[in-house]
Symmetry: C2
Amino acid sequence: MNTGSHIKALAFDVFGTVVDWRSTIIREGEKLGKKKSISIDWADFADAWRSRYVPSMGRVRQGDIPWTNLDGLHRASLEKLLEEFQIENLSESEKENFNRVWHRLDPWPDAVEGLVRLKSRYIITPLSNGNIALLTNMAKRAGLPWDLILSAELVRRYKPDPEVYLMVPSLLDLKAGEVMMVAAHPDDLQAAGEAGLRTAYVPRPLEFGPHGRVETLDPSFDLVARDFIELAEKLGAR
Amino acid sequence: MNTGSHIKALAFDVFGTVVDWRSTIIREGEKLGKKKSISIDWADFADAWRSRYVPSMGRVRQGDIPWTNLDGLHRASLEKLLEEFQIENLSESEKENFNRVWHRLDPWPDAVEGLVRLKSRYIITPLSNGNIALLTNMAKRAGLPWDLILSAELVRRYKPDPEVYLMVPSLLDLKAGEVMMVAAHPDDLQAAGEAGLRTAYVPRPLEFGPHGRVETLDPSFDLVARDFIELAEKLGAR
């Protein structure tokens, strides 16, 4: 399959696909715990924070609450989690700083090298529910070489709403079929495909930890690669 | 003055400030003219195209025509100019390709090196009336190392409307005074300053050609530099 020949731009899901949110949150949580004498299981904390992600966006998508960017949703979830885990001794600036751990997530080991290769042939952009400040700060810290940064925030909708996917061909003056969505999550890819984008599935079996759920492989994707290096190879970007 | 200490992000005007539109249009025009046997003065053509830029955005800003991005405004101006210069033998695809000369403008000689230095210390973004596709294609071709790409298109307003300037601190989660606008045009900087941004003036005396108008120096800017290398030095990015 010569999938790459008509593709002009690649749009990447970020949390779980480009960066490993779980390890970073655990590491920063343990550091904070040591400093503030908080002894909880930070893996549980990371998983609980992540488990609030989809429902919190759901409230925006259904119109239950007005537009709130992801920093705002993460912060509201954090407040609930601090209660739940009975953490009471954080100052406002410590909470704010810990909330911004989502700006400091580490990339998967293959991500930067793969993106550098892909950039030589394609326009590369994140297409994330993360807000622009979060994605910009993350990219600078981790060295993610995006050509530009597109976020759900720009259309004030969250994936999987079609407006988010359609923003990419619209702003880049491309046809939907000239854009390929890259994600570790079949539901994200399915929605991208329904909006007319091409789809590349890069499973990240460690996203939810060594014992986490693994997504089932759906044969309907245009391309499957085990990491961004293989993705670059399959798309002819070496 | 230790101007750089509170600045977190630099937003650059593009046409004339980062890239030399006039030389590139003349060069591509002469090439097209040779191919299609069109003998006109391409410097006059470039100047005429540029002279329609501000009035064409004015029609959008005043609500005389609905939102149209800059590729669209350039194309409408091009149609008028082809009549004016009595050029009748261009195909649709030749017109479309020539219209996209604005995506292929060459940077001033100091621009890439200066931006690379500035990027090591600040978030750097264009803040241009050019649309996202134009700015993205330009950056890839010219090697402009933006952290992200912000355009008037994202708020469907044109500079000097304040919404365009205010988008930068809003999307980057910064205070207006933590953002510095960099431009070769005093009116752009004045509007940025009124929106609360800091201002850096980088005169480009050759923008309008060897005999073109030169802007008067306004002492109210936070910083003046003769090119992006000096700007990097003055902002402590080496």
